[in-house]
Assembly symmetry: C2
Homo-oligomer: 329 residues x 2
């Protein structure tokens, strides 16, 4: 295993210390490094909290800050955070307007966030993200997995929370954005979880995993490596089938790298998907390209399409100041 680490046991805490030092203007660490929180809380605002296993950076810690999350609870690599972490985060960032949890649909995350929700004594609600159209049920999941679309839910709901929307409205908005968002990914290589010390899965030199999950979980099928255009066609095809969009619909396109894919290839995928969406007469109103929801050093990418209207576009464009997304301020 080749990694820039000192010790598997301390990897997460050392990385969080570096993150907090690098972004001291935006975040602070909660006690014992249990969570990352926004440095300057906004009184009277509904607090947005997410979290999940580490190894998907910049998700979620990189999205803490003005206009997005108030706190993120990182578990060990690919391991759910504990209810204690969530409870501590909620107590730290609730300013009286309640807490909205944004949770990717994995059994461990769901169970622990539900326990935290039952333990806290403030108003709370939960948005479950399950944008991955690749498979129903999977290694860690009942139903569909939550993947890169989580970023879009966190950004849009985050902007609405920042302007002062209430808990019920934010819960409804999050559910609505999740429903309008679909993703699917492909892996060319595996990743290696530090505590395991060996690749999560074996894959041949001419193979790819179509529909892979963000922990390297199996997708729809193991097939021969195809051209970028063919990959884009299969991913987009599954996404568009799920969303059933009408011609003329405005969409946000996210081409997301899994960690080991050069930006040059991601932009080539943007070009390939653009042609396909143009062919369906969909209008790409916004495009985000980069490695935002990763699987450590896995090579591959996911495509996410999210149907947008004027209201959600305005929320997407609203100012954000986090470690990983920053615009409009």
């Amino acid at each position: 295993m080749k990694k820039l680490i000192n010790d598997v046991e301390s990897l997460l805490s050392e990385s969080l210390d570096g993150f907090a030092a690098a972004h001291a203007d935006i975040v602070t660490l909660g006690e014992g490094g249990q969570f990352v929180r926004r440095r300057s809380p906004k009184p009277g605002k509904v607090a947005l909290i997410s979290g999940g296993g580490s190894g998907h950076e910049p998700l979620h810690t990189g999205f803490v800050g003005h206009g997005m999350l108030d706190a993120a609870c990182p578990g060990q690599v690919f391991t759910s955070p504990t209810p204690d972490q969530m409870l501590a985060a909620a107590q730290a960032v609730d300013t009286g307007a309640g807490v909205l949890f944004i949770v990717k649909n994995y059994s461990g995350d769901m169970m622990n966030f539900q326990m935290a929700a039952e333990m806290i004594d403030c108003d709370n609600a939960t948005v479950i993200v399950n944008d991955d159209v690749a498979v129903e049920n999977s290694t860690y999941t009942t139903g569909r997995r939550g993947v890169a679309g989580t970023l879009i839910v966190e950004k849009i709901v985050g902007a609405a929370a920042e302007r002062g929307d209430g808990l019920a409205a934010l819960k409804a908005l999050g559910d609505s954005v999740n429903k309008a968002t679909a993703s699917m990914g492909v892996a060319l290589t595996s990743c290696t979880v530090p505590a395991a010390g060996k690749p999560t899965f074996q894959i041949g030199a001419d193979e790819m995993e179509m529909g892979v999950g963000i922990h390297g979980e199996p997708g729809r099928r193991r097939v021969r490596l195809a051209s970028a255009d063919d990959i884009a066609a299969e991913l987009s095809g599954a996404i568009l089938k799920d969303l059933s969009l009408k011609p003329g619909q405005e969409v946000l396109l996210l081409v997301n790298g899994f960690g080991g894919t050069p930006l040059m290839e991601l932009y080539l995928m943007v070009n390939a998907v653009h042609k396909i969406l143009d062919g369906h007469r969909l209008k790409i109103a916004r495009c985000l390209t980069g490695s935002y929801v990763t699987s450590l050093e896995m090579a591959g990418c996911s495509i996410t399409v999210s149907a947008m209207d004027a209201a959600t576009l305005a929320l997407w464009d609203a100012p954000v100041h986090t470690a990983a997304l920053h615009w409009g301020m």
Copy 2:
């Protein structure tokens, strides 16, 4: 070779088309995709032009826009752009105040930018970046290589150009920032140039290349994989020896991923380097972490330290709006 591509021949042009489509609010492509230029030129401003082989994205195309570059000329992967590209870019973005070329110190880039400088009929000057302290002379280089410090030169000189500094002042500023900046990197794995189809170098499962170049060129020595703390100590040690900074000096720290390194590990390196710089009583005034000057999918990272004063810090903080760096506006 596992890559998200259609054809090696069209990789660059397809990727540039995707880049231009994704960032149509910031850039446009020059004729025939010879260069990427800022969408809204600023009359009367000295035009900043950089370029070099592709495969280092987001460098340089991702730094075109307000407050940084006016144009970038991408060559094929790890191959210098041609004088024709640079000439076309200069003619497109010169608004009468002259052109400053920012060139990484590789023989091909140097020769071609020099030819372009001789061909154009406007005032021009060239800043040469050679921040890599690892080795003198290398595979493609006479003298020291230009690596991740290029980002810092482009940002600071870009901000000064945006406020209206003249050509001679910008040239002097660029030289001064370059002199105050030092970098060194380490590779854990090789990268694969698409046209070659196989890894640039072979490296054992327990080895690393200390002092590697951004094309996978040899560094100082091939050694056994060490801990992140030990790697940070060696890289920082070489950098600090070169810079000879006094205690209390303010610095910018850039922890740069080479493309295949998870963000989690880069932040762990931030933490490791922080401790070392603290030990030298250097003050990390700003910190940038991410994969900004890459070598395709190579795993590893570089450390860059740049001595700053109030004037250069203000230029670093000045608004920038490019595909890869965006703040203050």
